[in-house]
Amino acid sequence: MSTRPRDKRMSIEEVIEQLEDGMTIGIGGWGSRRKPMALVRAILRSDLKDLTIVSWGGPDVGLLARAGRIRRLVYAFVSLDSIPLEPHFQRARQEGTISEVVELDEGMFQTGLRAAAQRLPFLPTRAGLGSDVLVNNDWLRTVESPYPGPDGTPETLVAMPALELDVALLHLNRADAHGNATYLGPDPYFDDLFAMAAAKTFLSVEQVVDTAGLTIDTPVQRLLIDRMMVDGVIETPGGAHFTSCVPDYDRDERFQKAYAAAAKDEAAWRAFEARFLAGDESAYQAAVKEFDDE
């Protein structure tokens, strides 16, 4: 019997087979940074619908909204970073095509992931008090502290419910076949929280390496994800494109500009889709290479 942990490598298509209509899917990264775009593109190629998407939103949210796959969206912002407003998301909101919209404060969003990661029904937070986040989400509740506050009166705080996920989709720089993974850029974002908040986690990476290779040139503190959190590992070089995945690559600003420009016009968007999103992931990467060479 092998003493090695199991090999979790799988294809993009095998990930999609595990997803179902109506699932709650958390997407790692932040804005237009280190997003599991190859997995998002695979969802676009599938028939999946009525999804609840939980995301520090970037083009992942934009693309899924444009394709009409989102029934419920949980976010604190949606942005392309260097282009502040995500055009597809903006349009979806203005046309009212996402049936349930849950806009949270960023701290509330993190607190909700923490609660789910800790298997708690909620966690208290100050963030959200007094704002319209509590008005526009009238199902959110407050909770009175059982302890006296500084002036003797107990504080009433937001009871942020756990953001429980059926699935988390993440993209990191490197992993081994078992799901141990490192991020090599400056920010871990909240990918470990997404993994712990989810029943299943699928992790795409730029490169699958031997376990020993994970720390050969990288401090152990960068091992953000361990294999207990992971159900599938997918090697997808360029899998975060066009979002950033430093140090492997920066955001493809030229491509992002083309994406945002195309989003504003129906014919231009159909042409963009036909050129970049009609085929599988290798067709996408080939089309991007061709775009680069122009």
Binding site: W30, G57, Y75, A76, F77, V78, S79, P84, L85, F89, Q90, R93, Q94, E95, G96, V101, E103, L104, D105, E106, G107, M108, Q110, T125, R126, A127, G128, L129, G130, S131, D132, V133, V135, N136, G149, P150, D151, T153, E155, T156, L157, P186, D187, P188, Y189, F190
Partner: protein, 260 residues
């Protein structure tokens, strides 16, 4: 040295916001706030902690649009939220709308259910305003920004915080609003109570009438002062002008946000 431009007056007015803060994290959103925070660190508050707006604490203020220089700490987004909750932070946010009661909107214009114009989302504004000292930067002062009542309350004004109870007011600390025309604080009162916007000073070359015309609600002036007595925002010192022009913004990026 030639006379200060409007963007330079603004940079100094913004820098003054952090002058008394001591050893806390300055979180500027946008170009002029970033310039102001860096100027503050080089002039009135050497203890100020500044970042690259991404994930690094910078040991010394680099010029706008250049590298990071020496690094003194690590501040990824998760740690930013920890500092928000912990407290030693003064954020300067933008505002698509800001109302008389000190509420800010960066979420959307129009009804939330189906807005006329979707913006970024609430981001961290609700949590920032009930946890940290908060100021605002408005690069183009207009009645579209300064409204009677914001469409969606992202950043929480004083009266809304008071309605929400002591947990919301405990660390609520709105400080200044700097615009291309003037400086405000939140020392006014209105029918909702304390915390209403109050004009503190007008920039050189700007009249109270100019500010009034660009504001969508009745201006509150400092107590006992008529329109002609409102102070003028201070001029930059020669040192400040040198730091802005030669050290922090030699490429004059400030002019893009506030043209002369």
């Amino acid at each position: 040295m030639s006379e200060a431009t409007r963007s330079e007056v603004v940079a100094v007015a913004i820098a003054d916001c952090w002058a008394e803060d001591g050893e806390i994290f300055a979180s500027p959103m946008g170009l002029l706030p970033t310039l102001g925070a860096r100027l503050c660190k080089l002039t009135t508050n050497a203890d100020l902690v500044i970042s690259d707006g991404e994930s690094l604490f910078l040991a010394s203020p680099p010029p706008l649009g250049s590298g990071t220089g020496p690094i003194e700490g690590w501040i990824p987004f998760r740690k930013v939220f920890d500092v928000v909750a912990w407290g030693p932070r003064h954020v300067m946010m933008g505002a698509t709308q800001l109302d008389r009661h000190g509420n800010q909107n960066i979420s959307a214009i129009g009804p939330f259910e189906q807005p006329r114009r979707q913006l970024l989302g609430s981001r961290g504004a609700p949590g920032n305003t009930v946890s940290n000292r908060t100021s605002y930067w408005v690069p183009k002062h207009s009645p579209r920004v300064f409204v009677e009542q914001v469409d969606i309350v992202s950043g929480v004004g004083r009266s809304r915080a008071e309605e929400a109870g002591p947990a919301a007011t405990r660390f609520h600390d709105l400080h200044r609003v700097v615009t291309d025309l003037a400086v405000f604080d939140f020392g006014g009162r209105d029918e909702d109570g304390a915390g209403a916007l109050r004009l503190l000073s007008v920039h050189p070359g700007v009249s109270v009438a100019d500010v009034r015309a660009a504001t969508g609600f009745a201006l509150t002036l400092p107590e006992g002062l008529g329109p002609d007595d409102v102070p003028t925002t201070r001029e930059p010192t020669a040192t400040e002008l040198m730091l802005i022009r030669e050290v922090l913004d030699p490429r004059r990026l400030r002019e893009k946000e506030v043209p002369s």
